[in-house]
């Protein structure tokens, strides 16, 4: 199987779907001539033209709003936000409009819309360019949240999302774009709402997604050296959420650690911990642990940023706390 980098897998998914369905088009900042800030849309304007790979002004609310208007009239737009941070500028269009319209109009309007945006810290981008805010959108009914961690997952999930009838926030991670993984040459689609056990183990379950999935896998390696077998579960999509796989894993291991790059307060980890105790209170051997970002705006200084963000070592510490 050929190896692709994550950004190349996204590019392939976009290319294939643009070629398959002429209603699909891309709009966003620097997506056309420049080929995307992270090279994700490289070559697509040359192949599909400037009408279907459309450069826009820096106007995130309008980018998302225009995509909504196009989606409600039969097109299948993919709006790219250069980074998740700028999605905050488009919050009104995402939360007040895209997430609400199907419901508040009694099902008469459908929005086959994908909003792609990369997030994440780790390279000293400071407070306004390091957001991992997926939990904000999981808290909002009416929009799906998909957050793949590998080239294989990102391609198969993105193709499914582009064919979906619902608005979807598709969150990539800036630090994952250059990572490599096997991607089949033949076409494949991955279903939403299906988690994957990325590493089996019997002693503790680590739930992690996006870049933290890779930190969790590193942690599992370190723990294996200590004789602790960690099972690593990647939900891949946070809405819909495959609770069955997560509960099944924790029911076997009886211990759980949730690792996320977003803030700890009222984060996705808090939601998962609540659900685990609702379903498995009497089966748990130890309190559910959360590993997350420090509740501070992300600092610039390298040492402070490393203190603020969670990593494999923190995951190991959390696991040791409940397994020793």
């Amino acid at each position: 199987m050929p190896e692709l980098r994550y950004f190349e897998a996204v590019n392939q998914a976009l290319q294939e779907e643009l070629a398959r369905d002429e209603r699909v088009f891309i709009l966003g900042e620097d997506v056309g001539l420049a080929g995307g800030t992270f090279r994700v849309t490289d070559g697509l304007m040359a192949e599909f033209g400037s009408r279907r790979v459309r450069d826009t002004p820096i106007a995130e609310a309008a980018i998302v709003g225009i995509a909504i208007g196009a989606a409600m009239s039969g097109m299948r737009p993919i709006a790219e936000l250069m980074t998740m941070n700028f999605g905050i500028v488009a919050m009104d269009q995402i939360v007040n409009h895209a997430s609400k319209m199907h419901y508040m109009f009694g099902g008469q309007v459908t929005l086959p819309l994908v909003i792609r945006a990369p997030g994440g810290g780790w390279t000293q981008k400071a407070a306004q360019h390091s957001h991992c805010i997926e939990s904000w959108f999981v808290n909002t009914p009416g929009i799906r949240v998909v957050i793949p961690s590998t080239p294989y997952d990102v391609k198969g999930l993105l193709k499914t999302c582009i064919r979906s009838e619902d608005p979807i926030l598709f969150i990539e991670h800036e630090m994952l774009y250059s990572t490599r993984g096997e991607v089949p040459e033949e076409e494949y689609l991955l279903p939403l709402g299906v988690a994957e056990v990325k590493r089996p183990g019997r002693d503790v379950t680590i739930v992690a997604w996006s870049k933290m999935l890779h930190e969790a896998l590193k942690a599992a390696e370190l723990l294996a050296n200590e004789g602790i077998e960690a099972e690593v579960v990647d939900p891949r999509t946070l809405d819909p959420l495959d609770m069955d796989t997560i509960l099944g894993s924790v029911l076997r291991t009886r211990r759980a650690v949730i690792a996320e790059e977003g803030w700890r307060n009222v984060g996705m980890g808090a939601e998962l911990a609540a659900r685990l105790q609702e379903h498995l209170f009497y089966d748990l051997e130890a309190p559910v642990q959360r590993v997350a970002a420090a509740d501070v705006p992300t600092p610039y200084a390298r040492n402070l940023e490393r203190l603020a963000l969670p990593n494999a070592q923190r995951i190991v510490e959390a696991v040791l706390k409940i397994t020793l």
Partner: protein
């Protein structure tokens, strides 16, 4: 081209229907049948009526939270609209939307939106669809004077003109953004001239004169349909009631309100019709017909069932993924 008599009668009928519908809404609101925020269009009837009469039935209309009139002019049945206001399952959005969120894509009424200016990028997106598919359609987007101070107004005008999209922005300038006078909220309150900042034609029209609105819009629609790019029209008008049902409107003087009521668009057109030789009894018959339609709508709404409990979780998503 002068507006034919039959069309003038239709304009009269639609304005009379809007006025009577809104009076019925006010009564039902006072009796507790309607909840939430409800914004009446009384006084502004000539704008929606004249503007929408200038487009085809398959051109898109997209509105704001003050959307009852636009839906009525799009010929959505008063029964379905009143039932929506009563929160009944027979409502145009199954009782899920209410006053501010009427919608009927089959009649190309693409919804009412309650975030000021929020519908404008959607209008541009509808127009982008039209352009990408080479359709013979235009978009008519309604907004208020207040929306012209929002960021997305400027983003939307810029991108509509940048891509030469077929949109007509109709500003219903009733001079108040809720309670705040346009003169103390907009640095430049000749709203139609804001279009010039984007190289877009901007026109102003007397929004209390339905014939003037119709004639202006016919010209503009021709220009936009021809592919010449977007246009903004400012229609100056006045809402007689408060911003919403809970607003007593203390920020406006009686003298100002009296002045505008003298310009009322409905008697104005009635007078013109009689001058053209129309028998006044025809207008009385129209009034009786719309009175009956509104009464029928209220009876229908009151006797309709509320949405069933199962509806709570319906239509959140199209696809369920078993999760």
């Amino acid at each position: 081209m002068p507006v034919p008599l039959a069309d003038q009668l239709q304009l009269y009928r639609n304005m009379a229907l809007i006025r009577r519908f809104e009076e019925g809404v006010a009564e039902a609101y006072a009796e507790g049948f309607i909840g939430g925020f409800t914004h009446l269009y009384i006084g502004q009837e000539a704008v929606a009526t004249g503007a929408i009469s200038a487009i085809n039935h398959d051109d898109y209309v997209i509105g704001t939270y003050r959307d009852h009139a636009h839906a009525l002019v799009r010929e959505i049945s008063p029964r379905a609209l009143m039932a929506e206001l009563y929160g009944r399952v027979t409502g145009v959005c199954k009782g899920k939307g209410g006053s501010m969120h009427f919608c009927d894509p089959e009649r190309y009424f693409m919804g009412g939106y309650a975030i000021v200016g929020g519908n404008l990028p959607l209008a541009v997106g509808l127009a982008l669809s039209i352009q990408m598919r080479n359709e013979d359609r235009v978009v008519m987007a309604f907004l208020g004077d207040g929306a012209s101070n929002q960021g997305v107004f400027h983003e939307s005008l810029n991108m509509a003109k940048l891509w030469e999209l077929p949109v007509i922005f109709v500003v219903e300038n009733n001079f108040y953004g809720i309670a705040t006078d346009v003169r103390i909220s907009s640095a430049f309150n000749e709203i139609h001239r804001k279009a010039q900042g984007y190289g877009m034609p901007g026109h102003v029209v007397n929004g209390m004169d339905v014939i003037a609105v119709r004639e202006e819009c016919e010209e503009v629609v021709k220009y936009v349909r021809h592919g010449s790019g977007p246009v903004l029209i400012e229609a100056r008008c006045y809402r007689y009631q408060g911003h919403s049902m809970t607003d007593p409107g203390r920020y406006r003087s009686q003298a100002e309100a009296d002045l505008w009521r003298k310009r009322d668009p409905i008697p104005r057109l009635a007078k013109q019709l009689v001058q053209q030789g129309l028998d006044a009894s025809r207008l009385d018959a129209i009034q009786r017909e719309v009175n009956e339609a509104v009464q029928d709508a209220m009876r229908f709404a009151e006797s309709s069932p509320e949405p069933p409990d199962e509806a709570l979780y319906e239509d959140v998503y199209v696809e369920s993924y078993g999760a």
